[in-house]
Every structure is written in C-alpha cells, then in structure tokens.
C-alpha cells in the first residue's frame, strides 16, 4: 500500500490538494471569487476532455466546442422542458457522446488522417454555429424552450438535487459539485489510461499500423475515446449553462475551440494535470485582461498560442515534471552518482 502511494506520489499530491480546495475554499473565499473558481473548474473539465482525445488518443479535434456547445444547449432545452435537472444533465452528456460516436464512425472507419480530422471537426463546429445563430425568432423552439438565435437562451434553471426540483444548488453547492466532478474526471481518466483500453489507445497514438498488426482494432479504440471526450465536453457545457443560467452561440464558436487548444498547448497536451493548469491560468488571465481596456484579449491569447507552438511545444507541465522535479530531487539527494555512469553516449 505504501509502495503504491509512493510510486503514485504525484497523483496523491493532486488528490490531497484537490480535496483541500474542495473543502476549504467555500468557507474561506468571498462569493465572487468562489463563482470564478467554479467556472475555472468547469473549464478544467473541458480541458481534460480534449486532453484525453488529443493528448492520449492522438485525435486532432479542432472543433471541440461542438460538443461543449451541444451539451450546453441540450441541458438548457431539456431543463426548461422537464423542469428538473437530473435527466437533462444525462442528456447533455449523451447527445455529444452520440455526435462524437457518429462523427468518429464517419471519420475513423474511413481512415481519414489527422489533419483532415481537424478539418472535419472544425467544419462541424461552423455548421452548429451557423445554424444556432440563425434561430432567432419565436418560430424556433423545442418544446417550451426558445432557441433564441444570436441572443442566446437566458434564465436557464440551475442544477438541483437529483429529483428534487425545488432544491436548487446555491453557489457553494455548485462549487463543490464542479470541483468534485473535476476530481472524479481527473482520476477517472487516470484510471482509464492504465487499463488495457487506455494502454492500447496510447499505442494507437504512437503507431496506428503497428497496433493493428498486433490484432487490436485501432478504429474502435479511437471511436470510444472520442465518444468519452465528447460526453465530458458535454458535461462541461451543461455545468457552464447551469453556472451562468445562460447559453449563447459563442459556446459553439471557433474562438471557443481555439481557447481549449490554447489551454492544452500552454499546460502540455501529453499530460492531464497540464491542461487543468492551462485552463485555470488562461481563464484567469482572460478575466484580468477583460477588466482593463489597454490590450484586447485576442491579442494576448493569439500571442500565447504562437509563442507556445514555436518555443514551448510540449507545454508547461512536462517542463515541471522533467526539469523542475528532478532538479528538486537532486538538491535533496546530492549523493546520486552520475559521474560513475559511462558518458560516451551523450552528445
């Protein structure tokens, strides 16, 4: 048991910090800050959903906001019609998962290569954005829910305790839920990646052909991973709508897709912790930029993406784990004896 804990010391640390935040923040922070951090947690779930399919599945999804937006709208439409949030939450995950499964079947079973997967997913996002934007007017409604076009849908009910429509979550409850779900998703994905399925998925990313020669169905693994990513993005969309009681077509926008990719690029797309850090840091930065009038947020976001692609292509997290942690360890254990190792092999 202790050996297991030690070998996963990073995960244990994340879990302890996460639980501490989960329990500590609601009692220490003011309401405004707590609401902001709830939003960061929602975005972190969104970042994780793309990190899973992009960083581990090797699927270059350039239009991840399609799933986020679909989840956001599915929740809004369903909760207005049903009046209770449990089923809508499940719908908000199921619909994007179905879309991802359909798209995945369409793309992976035709063996479309990575860049074209990016093109198709981006195009799908554009379709959603165009269609939703054009639905202003009373004739566009699903049940009792007006879609609202470019005006979006205001007054969407918050989440409530399952099957108790009158017990809606207060901001503290919403924070605990989002933070808790973030931890569940983070550790769930970690757990998934060490299963047989997860190992094969990573192998597919490394070399699809070789995996198929070994008898695994690479297409099916990508399809399942893509659906899981879609469902998680839908969950984030649902939480986002419930958080702000509002959803607008910008959830589907190309800028939203770009933003998720920026979180990944900044944090490090080959990790799970990196995208969480990236999502929180960039969201915080965007809010800070929004409070002053000097620089446009797009300038900063674009520059960040450029700089990271050109100069820090692996993101921040690998820098911490590969450079900073070994450096700290080497400070603690100076007795390690690198001079005894043969040096010829090093360039």
């Amino acid at each position: 048991m202790i050996g297991l804990l030690r070998s996963n010391s990073g995960l244990v640390a994340v879990g302890i910090v996460g639980l501490a935040l989960l329990a500590g923040l609601p009692v220490t922070l003011d309401l405004y800050t707590l609401l902001q951090i709830t939003l960061y947690a929602i975005f972190a779930i969104l970042a994780l959903s793309l990190a899973f399919i992009w960083g581990y599945g090797g699927i270059l999804c350039f239009g991840h906001s399609a799933f986020f937006g679909l989840g956001a709208y599915a929740y809004a439409v369903a909760v207005i019609n049903i009046g209770e949030s449990t089923v809508p939450l499940l719908i908000a995950m199921a619909l994007p998962a179905l879309l991802a499964a359909g798209l995945g079947y369409f793309m992976f079973y035709a063996r479309i290569s990575d860049v074209y997967v990016g093109v198709i997913t981006l195009t799908v996002t554009l379709i959603f954005y165009n269609v939703i934007n054009s639905t202003a007017g009373p004739q566009y409604h699903i049940g009792e829910a007006l879609i609202g076009g470019f005006n979006g849908m205001p007054n969407v009910p918050s989440l409530n305790i399952p099957f108790l429509p009158d017990d809606t979550l207060d901001p503290q409850g919403m924070f605990v839920l989002c933070m808790g779900l973030l931890l569940v998703v983070y550790f769930g994905l970690h757990g998934l990646l060490v299963t047989r399925f997860g190992r094969v998925l990573v192998a597919v990313r490394e070399n699809e052909q070789r995996v198929e020669f070994l008898g695994y169905d690479a297409r099916l693994h990508k399809l399942i991973a893509f659906s899981i990513g879609g469902a998680l993005a839908g969950l984030a969309g649902c939480l986002f709508t419930a958080w702000g009681n509002y959803v607008s077509p910008t959830a589907f926008s190309v800028v939203q897709s770009a933003q998720i990719i920026i979180w990944l690029m900044v944090g490090g797309s080959g990790t799970l912790l990196g995208p969480v850090i990236g999502a929180v840091a960039i969201s915080w930065l965007t809010v800070e930029i929004g409070t002053q009038q000097v620089v446009n947020a797009n300038v900063v976001l674009g520059a960040i993406l450029l700089v990271f692609v050109l100069l820090v292509p692996k993101g921040v997290a690998p820098m911490i784990t590969e450079k900073f942690v070994p450096w700290v360890l080497s400070l603690r254990r100076p007795a390690a004896t690198p001079h005894q190792l043969p040096q010829e092999g090093k360039a």
Partner: protein, 288 residues
C-alpha cells in the same frame, strides 16, 4: 428570361467569390503543404488597407486592386520569416501557429480600428436587366476572379519564378541540388499567396463591409474549398468552387443563405470523407 439571367449571375457570382477567397490559400497549400488558418485575417488586412487608402482619397480602383496585395504581401513575407519558416514540414503545428496568428491579428485590428464596420464605396453602378436590377460590381467580381485565375496560371506556367516554384513543389531536394534557393522560393510563394488573399480582401471590401472579425466568415469556406480541391492550386480551386458554389446557391435558393452555407459545409465533409486527398488527388493528377 430576365429572371433566369439574374439567377445565373447569382450562381456564377457565388462560384467566383469562392474561387477568389480560396486562391491564395490554395497556392500556399498546393506549393508548400501549409494550411494558413490566418488566411481570413490576411484578407481582412487587405480590406482595411483598401479602406484606409480610400479615406486618403486614393483612386478607388488603385485602393482595392493595388494597395491591398502589396500591403499584405509585405506582411506575409515578414510572417513567413518570423513564424512559418520555423515550422516547415509540421502541418499541425503550422495550423496551430497560424490559428494563434489569426486571433492576434483580429485583436490588433480591433484595437486599431475599433469594433465597427468601415465602408468602402462600390465603384460601379447597378445595371438593369429587364424588370430586374443587378449589381454591376458583381459582374466585375466574376470577370476579375476569372482573370486572376488566368493570371496565376500564366505566372506559374510561363515565368521563371513559376518554373522554379513548380520544381520546388515537385521535389524540393532535387531543386536545391540544382542550385535553387528553395527557402527563398518558399518565402516568395508565401508572400504571393498572401498577396492573393489581400487582393481578394480588397476586391470584396465594397461588398462585404470591413470589420475585424469578418475573416472568420471567409476562412471556413476557403479552407474546405482548398482541402476539397486537393493539391493542384488552380484546377483544385476551380473544381471545388464550382461544386461547392453550386451546392451553396441551390440550397440558398431553396431555403436561405444560412442553410446554403450549411449545405456547403456538409457537402465538404462528405467530399473529404470520400476523397481525403481532394478532387485533384483523384482526378486530373499533376495538373496545376
């Protein structure tokens, strides 16, 4: 009869604008295997340079046909040197970097010009066809689009630069071994593609209005036209524009412009699924 002519003009206009906005992207993609996601912003910079030139009382034709390509070619050359050159051969990284560039440019344009729509006057009056009124400028855009395609064909086919560019496109290492400065060819090709984007932005500025985020509405269509067309920049752009433009107009005619655009995007997805290498990856291989 008059109605048929007006509708026909609409159809051809849709195809011609699609070809015009895609051509610069297609040249860069066909020659260099680079997808420039900032292409829409290159067009917008062309539009803004036209608007600024008009404000300074420069002749309208010079403002929309000469100033934009020159301005954007210079910007393109600088961007090639600073960004694109670092990423040759890495398609995904190039797409991400140019995506960042596109956000950056939108932000800069918003800071400089504000989030308002600038106007560029239409230099041609409307024309009357029977009982109907058609835009004379639409006809100009159609003619100009065809002329631009033809001009690019002449440059690639007949000029020395075109010869070197085609040689580099076919086999960069062999071209380099024969004494061609391939990195300069790439730089010039990218600047040429940027100039075409700027030209498209300038020509369309009187029709579309000019505001910072309008590039987003171009890039989707240009992007899928180029991918759908495949590696051959001219034949690919022409065939994909013909296909997508026709689908777009039929759907627009049957419903409304939004669903026209949606039909275009859906058609593109299906085409990419059937022909991932684009139309010219399967048919008319090796054409320009």
């Amino acid at each position: 009869m008059d109605l048929a002519i007006v509708v026909a003009i609409d159809f051809v206009y849709a195809i011609a604008t699609l070809a015009l906005i895609s051509l610069g992207l297609a040249v860069v993609f066909g020659m260099m295997r680079i997808i420039n996601l900032a292409h829409g912003e290159f067009m917008v910079m062309g539009s803004y340079s036209a608007a600024v030139a008009v404000h300074h009382h420069i002749n309208i034709w010079i403002a929309i046909l000469v100033v934009p390509p020159l301005t954007v070619a210079i910007i393109g050359a600088i961007i090639e040197r600073l960004i694109i050159r670092q990423l040759y051969g890495r398609m995904v990284e190039t797409m991400l970097a140019t995506w960042g560039l596109s956000l950056f440019v939108v932000g800069i344009l918003t800071m400089v010009f504000g989030d308002i729509t600038e106007g560029v006057p239409t230099p041609l009056p409307g024309i009357t066809i029977g009982a109907y009124q058609a835009s004379g400028y639409s006809l100009f855009v159609i003619v100009f689009s065809v002329a631009t395609m033809f001009g690019v064909y002449i440059i690639l086919r007949s000029s020395r630069l075109g010869l070197l560019a085609r040689g580099t496109m076919q086999n960069a290492e062999m071209a380099a071994a024969l004494g061609t400065d391939t990195s300069r060819i790439y730089a010039v090709t990218f600047a040429f593609g940027a100039a075409l984007a700027g030209l498209a932005g300038g020509v369309l500025a009187p029709v579309s209005g000019v505001f910072p985020s309008i590039g987003g509405s171009y890039i989707g269509r240009a992007f899928i036209t180029v991918i759908g067309g495949g590696a051959a920049p001219l034949v690919g752009t022409a065939s994909a524009s013909l296909l997508f433009g026709t689908i777009n107009q039929i759907a627009t005619f049957a419903t409304n412009p939004v669903y026209g655009e949606v039909a275009l995007l859906l058609a593109a997805i299906v085409l990419i699924r059937v022909l991932p290498q684009g139309i010219t990856g399967r048919y008319m291989r090796g054409s320009l």
